[in-house]
């Protein structure tokens, strides 16, 4: 682990967030972070302080509440963080567009596609979609397709035998 990443992880651990190291070869990122909506800004500020840049902000429509997915990486050393923030009861997450200005467009796009509102965003108008499609929210899942967050997450580490690649290998063989 790079010392800079280590420092960042230590600092993140002081916030009320859950940081878990992941297998890069399997997932393509180094850390998975679960965060509550009210901690998003603290987390973003921490990321900014530690020279991370914002890769993207996206949405994820799951039960029980939709998530906002942030990804951070660094220009100088390997260390990719996937942050999932659950929206609060008003379907809102605070904006980080004043911390990472690049987030502004990503947040507007997420508002277009999922209807997730970014509190205090200065200009939450449709970006990709047309003005009249403000309520379209095309990426929201239908009732049948909507899955629980546990159904779209990696199984717990102990559950190795059910890993699908093992099954795939078996099929190949």
């Amino acid at each position: 682990m790079h010392p800079a990443t280590e420092k960042l992880v230590n600092e993140l651990n002081e916030l009320p967030v859950a940081v878990a190291a992941c297998d890069y070869a399997q997932r393509g990122y180094h850390y998975e972070v679960d965060v509550a909506a009210d901690q998003v800004r603290a987390l973003a500020e921490c990321m900014l302080k530690h020279d991370m840049y914002l890769v993207f902000v996206g949405g994820l429509d799951v039960k029980p509440v939709p998530r906002v997915v942030y990804q951070f990486a660094s220009y100088t050393h390997p260390g990719r963080f996937v942050v999932r923030a659950a929206v609060d009861e008003n379907n809102m997450v605070p904006t980080i567009s004043d911390i990472f200005q690049g987030a502004s467009w990503h947040e507007r796009e997420t508002r277009d596609f999922f209807g997730i509102v970014f509190a205090d965003h200065p200009y939450l108008k449709p970006l990709i979609l047309a003005e009249e499609d403000v309520d379209l929210k095309p990426l929201l899942k239908t009732e049948e397709a909507l899955k629980d967050i546990s159904e779209v997450s990696w199984p717990a580490a102990s559950d190795v035998s059910s890993k699908p690649e093992a099954k795939n290998k078996a099929e190949q063989g």
């Binding site: 914002l54 990804q71 390997p78 047309a130 990426l139 899955k147 779209v152 699908p164």
Partner: protein
Amino acid sequence: METAKEQAAQYTLEPATDIPKSNHYYLNMGPQHPSTHGVLRVLLEMDGEYVIKAQPVLGYGHRMHEKMAEHKNWMAFMPNTGRMDYAAALPFNHGYAALFERLCNIEVPERAEYIRVITSELNRLVSHHLWLGAFLLDLGAFTPILYTFDDREQVLDILEDITGSRLTYCYFRVGGVCKDIDDKFVERTRAYIKRQRERFKVYNELVTGNIIFLKRVEGVGIISPEMARRYGATGPVVRGSGIAYDIRKAEPYSVYDRFDFEIPTGTTGDSLDRYLVRLEEMEQSLRIIEQALEQLPDGPYLGKVPKKLKLPTGDANFAVEAARGELSYYLVSGGGDMPYRLKIRVPSYSNLSLLPELAQGMLIADLVAAMGSLDLVIPEIDR
């Protein structure tokens, strides 16, 4: 000039919704403007020739690829990937194929990885040629685009032979590539590399040393490293600002760790630096291709892939260095053979998002130069 800059500084980044000041006016640059390269509209608030505020308006070429990905099985989406960034489609193929290889733990034969690297780098050259011509066209030099298109055509011919298409490639498969390369390809590529090296001299003589060109790009559109980071800019834009960040080195994928190449960087982050970085990158691509052709192993070009790929539940990310910067596919899977959610992070999106801050207080001619140096491909931004 100073007063316009001062005036611009008083504004926040938040786009104007109210009526502009009496001596200001709005100018719609695009969606059918010669130098917005596609269907980008930039709403400009102007004071004379000075840009007070620039607000890009996106979405004219929006096709909702992310939704399509959720409604097709993993294989059927492959052609879509080539239709986002039409100037450099193969890195988009690459990221998508590699994402599933990572998620499902599929082995890729070595030869296939080498073919991927060679074709991706050739595609990078294609894209940079297109940019070079278009950028100089933005500056009012008509001729270079014909020269660069001449060279670009050579690569397209080579790629067409093996991939079957010239622009929107769908050449990579999960587990390899769909067609092997032959000796003729190797031979033609070698000949092309030789030819291209000669051509760089022509470019340098014709363009890089031209006093008008230098006056137009030097000190124009300066992006500081700190500003690049706040906006998440990647690729030549961030390298022009002096940050040696390249996914090919930072998180080596495929077989990029086996080649000896450098990451060119600029010093001031102006349009000239981005120009020089891209020119040098083309040279580095040639070096990579040369080494890859040298090391090209024998073997199968497509690995063993199960007929019906069962995706595991979970998420994975795959980042590749596309021609314009970092391309990230972030996939969330709920099992089955369709992604639950595919987020495509395209490089131009973040690179363009810094335009409002960059454009403040600029002359409109400089805005055109700065936008050209960002190397925007609008369908990629709109997806």
